[in-house]
């Protein structure tokens, strides 16, 4: 995925403490990489998410999104299913880093109470500003650290490491 700092998408609302088992159940963990997207959020309340998600959709959740396992298959499943961005009040450490490392942007913003499921939002990842398309109202999130933006712009950590090791 090439880097876009301006995103627009339809939102799916989720609650707090969405753990990695809900994002990608244990039974799906051994599935081949290209099949992971078929199990995205299969353990959550939106069990049929994989068949309904559209490319560019945005997840909006409460606190502690991605708590639990270090399984990177979880953000990979969301990204491959078409999710372009995850916005949450807070993220668990390993999930947040995993998402950034695979080039899936995550934004810390207390947005849940300000939007309805299915609404369109516009997001500027550099200024960390979210605009609700229908009303035009704006909500600010936490600005991403320079090294996070750098990783996202590179397309993920592997590209950054290649640069660091001077591999062309």
């Amino acid at each position: 995925m090439s880097w876009h700092s301006q995103l627009r998408g339809r939102i799916w609302k989720l609650g707090k403490n969405i753990d990695t088992d809900q994002i990608l159940p244990g039974y799906a963990m051994a599935a081949p990489m290209e099949k992971l997207k078929d199990y995205a959020l299969a353990g959550s309340e939106i069990q049929d998410f994989a068949s309904r998600v559209q490319s560019g959709d945005i997840l909006v959740a409460g606190e502690n999104f991605g708590c639990g396992s270090s399984r990177e298959q979880a953000p990979v499943a969301l990204k491959d299913a078409g999710v372009s961005l995850i916005i949450a009040k807070s993220f668990a450490r390993i999930f947040r880093r995993n998402a950034i490392n695979i080039g899936l942007p995550v934004l810390i913003c207390d947005l849940e109470q300000h939007v309805e499921n299915g609404q369109d939002i516009e997001v500027d990842l550099v200024s960390a500003e979210v605009t609700v398309s229908a009303s035009g109202s704006k909500i600010s999130g936490t600005v991403l650290a320079p090294n996070v933006l750098e990783t996202l712009e590179a397309g993920g950590l592997i590209a950054k490491v290649r640069k660091q090791l001077k591999i062309s």
């Binding site: 403490n17 753990d19 990695t20 088992d21 809900q22 159940p25 244990g26 039974y27 963990m29 051994a30 599935a31 081949p32 990489m33 353990g43 606190e63 502690n64 708590c67 639990g68 396992s69 270090s70 399984r71 990177e72 298959q73 990979v76 807070s90 993220f91 668990a92 450490r93 390993i94 880093r97 995993n98 490392n101 695979i102 090294n147 993920g156 950590l157 592997i158 490491v161 290649r162 660091q164 090791l165 591999i167």
Partner: protein, 407 residues
């Protein structure tokens, strides 16, 4: 600086580091298992170099789905087998046990060593003073290539545990108590240093149980202090009296939903799991065996016993524990993760209720997302197995003197 910062400074080649600093640390050991390792290998190969930073410092362990339950799982095993052969790294593929236990047994790291693992319970190595940081597969691939990890120096808190535990209360109850108190996001991105007079009395097994579940309150590092020198400056100190901690149980849907075992008395159960990296050590098995000796698991309760390592399994065999478990109606499985992460050997249907000594009870963690998993100590798990319902310790076997009967 505190002890964690001191070690991070050494690993970063700096005289001082402070919370919030972005640093690059040299890594002493990088580890992954059959679920995270293959993805790390795939990412590593995308980097495009023909060697890992130090073949002696990369270790893979097959523990999550061994023996392979599906063809897909065996493919994952083979990815690691091929990589280990081609790149000369160590692979434990004989069912040696759960990665964190195997690393502790075979590769005991020096205090202050930097361990990076593609598994969230890597933090368990903080029990013996390693600075143990859990990561995902891509970050591990980067470590395998460069030998370094970029991180932000965390804020560090001290948790002081004072006094003596009441009879029937164990290390598992301590960590469940703390997770219940601080919440599942209590220390996200932060470090914890354990100190206090209780800690001085805890065994290494006890410390492993506590540091293992640090991630369940979000910690980046869960570290037991070197008692021979000052802890140093920390953000805040929390003190707990061991006598105030009752036997605890984490109720669905997460490890932070903690109640006292006595308040759950009477909840019907259909499975008991004793094992995992949290509570699958010999000392845990001994507690369970003392309860189960000469008794039988209740009708309708499937009792699973899963040693954390082959060494533990061997000791169980030699000391006659396996026979006790089998005579109690238990199934003693091969060492490994078992049903803990929901892939094989003991999964639950929607109407099942389990008491487990493992570390997570998220929806779907051990099978169907409507199944209920309660987390408890080996003692509560074993007594509940016999009762057929959740019971507080001392219900089946009176409190006191228990640990020495079989030892």
């Amino acid at each position: 600086m505190n002890q964690i910062e001191e070690y991070l400074a050494v690993a970063a080649g700096k005289s001082e580091v402070h919370a919030g600093d972005d640093i690059t640390v040299n890594v002493d050991l990088a580890i992954a298992h059959d679920i995270t390792g293959p993805m790390a290998v795939e990412q590593f190969k995308k980097i495009g170099i023909d060697h890992v930073f130090d073949a002696k410092k990369v270790v893979f362990v097959l523990d999550h789905i061994i023996p392979a339950a599906t063809v897909e799982a065996k493919v994952l095993h083979n990815v690691l087998k091929d990589f280990a052969k081609d790149y000369g790294v160590q692979l434990y593929n004989k069912g040696e046990g759960v990665i964190h236990q195997v690393v502790a047994e075979k590769n005991r790291l020096n205090r202050g060593a930097i361990l990076v693992g593609a598994d969230s319970h890597t933090c368990m190595a903080g029990a013996y003073g390693a600075i143990a940081i859990p990561v995902g597969a891509t970050e591990l691939a980067a470590v395998m290539a460069t030998g370094t990890l970029d991180l932000e120096v965390p804020e560090v808190f001290e948790i002081r545990l004072e006094g003596k535990l009441n009879p029937g209360v164990y290390a598992k109850d301590v960590i469940l108590h703390l997770i219940g108190y601080f919440g599942t996001a209590g220390f996200t991105d932060q470090g914890v240093i354990y100190t206090g007079s209780l800690v001085d009395e805890l065994t290494i097994d006890d410390k492993m149980t506590i540091s293992n579940m640090g991630i369940e309150m979000g910690t980046m590092i869960s570290y037991f202090a070197d008692r021979d020198r000052p802890v140093g400056t920390v953000k805040e100190v929390y003190t707990f009296q061991a006598e105030d901690i009752p036997a605890r149980v984490a109720c669905p849907p997460n490890p932070g939903n903690v109640a006292s075992a006595s308040d759950l008395s009477g909840v019907n159960i259909s499975q008991v799991v004793i094992g995992s990296c949290t509570n699958g050590r010999f000392s845990d098995m001994l507690v369970a065996a003392n309860i189960l000796k000469g008794r039988r698991a209740a009708e309708g309760v499937t009792l699973l016993i899963i040693p954390a390592s082959a060494e533990i399994a061997k000791e169980m065999e030699e000391q006659g524990l396996n026979r006790i478990f089998r005579e109690a109606g238990g199934i003693v499985t091969s060492p490994g993760c078992g049903p803990c992460f929901g892939a094989h050997m003991g999964l639950l249907a929607s109407d099942d209720v389990a008491v487990s000594t493992t570390n997570r009870n998220f929806p779907g963690r051990m099978g169907h997302r409507e199944a209920k998993v309660y987390l408890a100590s080996p003692r509560v798990a074993a007594e509940s197995a016999i009762a057929g319902t959740i019971v507080p310790p001392g219900t089946v076997v009176p409190l006191g003197g228990l640990e020495n009967e079989l030892a």
